[in-house]
Amino acid sequence: MINAVGRDIPEEILELTGKEVFHGNHYYDGYVYKKDGPNTKCVINSIGSKLVTSIKEALEKCEIRDGMTLGFHHHFREGDYIVNMVMEEVHRMGIKDITICASSLGKAHDPIVPYIEDGTITNIQSSGVRGKIGEAISNGKLKGLAIMRSHGGRVRAIESGEIRIDIAFIGTPTCDEYGNCRGIGGKSNCGVLSYAMVDGDHADKVVAITDCLVPFPNFPAHISMTKVDYVVKVDEIGNSEKIATGAAKPTTDMRKLMMAEYCTQFIINSPYFKDGFSYQTGVGGASIASTISLAKIMKERNVRMRFGVGGLTKPMCDLLINNQVDALLDTQDFDLSAVESVKNLRHFRISVGEYADPFNKGAVVNKLDFVILAALEVDVHFNCNVVVGSNGMITGAQGGHPDTAAGAKCTIVIAPLLQGRIPAICTDVTTVTTPGESVDVVITDYGIAINPRRQDLIEAMKDAELPFKTIEELRNIAYSIAGEPDKVQFGKRIVGIIESRDGTIMDVVRQIKPFKFAEE
């Protein structure tokens, strides 16, 4: 069945998943449902400690068995040890058919690939995957279907009961013996625990894993003892060097600086740039450079930001230090400056549900004026792909891309026209992960295209001295330089689905197959 972005979703997949095809961003607006709640094992006794001696003991006490779903968060990013530690133990216990439901998985988790191959792990649900797990899924090694869902989409899936987490493992930088978890302190300081909050609220069993046990009460708790069943103390929960490092040096790459300058100029010429505007950006070189140059202009023109949101970096936190923003809403900290900034009274930790869940009574993303995003590919319909590489291999994550793009009044995607030799602006993206209806502007090193759906923005920009082009013109330039690439050749088997934030199916990902030249 053809969905709203023109992708054909096979009936077998609709039957298998019980899902609908994507019908557009607002299809579920006003939908009423009953939230799912966890099975809760009451603790009335006064023993006073939930400490167990090992992950193995925690698994046994949680009555781990074949076919369970385990939850993980990715606040430790590429420095995470939790997923590997837990899965190694699960494997050793001979458990099979596990579903991993993680907020994201990265190269740090390459060591679990053998557990995919031997059937310990048969399903993966994540914002995305990189490295060897991506290759394993794309090569058809996962027995079940991989589900890629956005950060908001994961909260929706859990809260709506579409997925029930049997045991959630919450790596926490500090914890007391009764399970009060905080994202700050210890040696794996990640600042916040936003992604794990939904796991705390909805998983049947919750295991806190820390390498820094502190005396009770570890307050104010980011995840409360009232939600935690067991606490495990291990030597190390992560590699602090890969969790949050010193702020990245601002880029000196002129190509990125140029795109950042276009972005800043676009923002300040748009009708949304006025006192009290809101803003989100990512960690890419161009995004960070945009924030730095925007801060300069805000100062010159005496324009104040009301709030900044999302994964935070130093330039965003500098806005708070320089009193250019009223509040920062934090879901993740990408550098030590952001971790440090958490103690500021106007720097607020929020849950990912508050941030991006489309199935609550209104998320922060709906209040965004600007979001600046990146993409692997953007097509002439403004559809973006941030998960599947142009070679067909799963190699990225949706993150909050579809959530913020859908919510923001002005969604800006920055991408160089060519990624190496591959056109990033193309006729059809390999896989649709964010629908074109969410994307308002594409900024490349060769020019800027405004989505024709946004005639108001086109009108607002008519006097701006920026290199505007149509998206087709940008595609044509890319093809004139690099040629039109042959389509990636996929096999028949569907190895994963790209779930829209409301749970419908945006696209499918097929098994990769070696390229065959036409003349062979």
Partner: protein, 300 residues
Amino acid sequence: MINPNKKRLRRTMMFLSAQKPGLIKDPYIYKPDSIMLDLEDAVAENQKDVARFSLFHALRTIDYRGCERVVRINGLDTPYWKEDIRCSVAGGCDAIRIPKTECASDVMLVEREVEHAEMEFDRPQGSVLIMAAIESARGVIKALDICEASGRLFGIALSGGDYTKDLQTHITGTGIELMGARQNMVIAARAAEVQCFDTVYTDLNNMEGYRQDVENIHLMGFDGKSIINPRQINIVHEIFTPSQKDIIFAEKVVKEIEDKKAKGIGVFTVDDKMIDIAFYDGAKRTIKLAKASGVYKGDL
């Protein structure tokens, strides 16, 4: 016939190693007026033929979108320069830059090879221009001879690194060591009615020092500057492009002089400044530069 590009706008000339595909594939997006594809110092001795191969195909296949394509050939004391010229001309370059030019005969030697190459590869006679880099005390002294050595020569450029070595000093960042050469070269270039380009500024982290350097050479009368990074382009263009204020004043001067001339008035004031016919050429030049830089919106 005079090549119409001889006096084109050349505020920035960006050095790029001809050997690096990532650099030469699309430098035009940064909008330098000229790019200089280097076969000389940026290319290792045992990679000269590789660089030439890459240069030839870049010139043949990449649309540089109006950017002038200059090739810096190897020195006339090397075994490479003749083949460098053949390859550049065959590829379709716009100009050849001669390194280490010491005297007029160096220019004439290159001119002859360029002529041969134009014939060999069926390019119109005179289509390939020449510029000379001056890198020694002797070259500076001979600047006027060099400027007048060939009708193809559109300008001379100072190469500060080698020049200061020859002068037994070094680059200080203040420009004091370059003062004599800069003055002498710009005067020679003006006398011969060719263009004059300043040397590179190598400290990419000192953008303030760079801006000062560009402001100085602009006031000295240079036409442009050699640059080593796209980050340096905008500052040169900003300083070398007439401001809207300058353009409006120049417009008034041109119009008033023409108007008053018809009425038989020789001296008068514009915006409280005394103006006579001596200001005419300068004002016309401002308008011309504004047009070439794409910032002129008037009707002159």
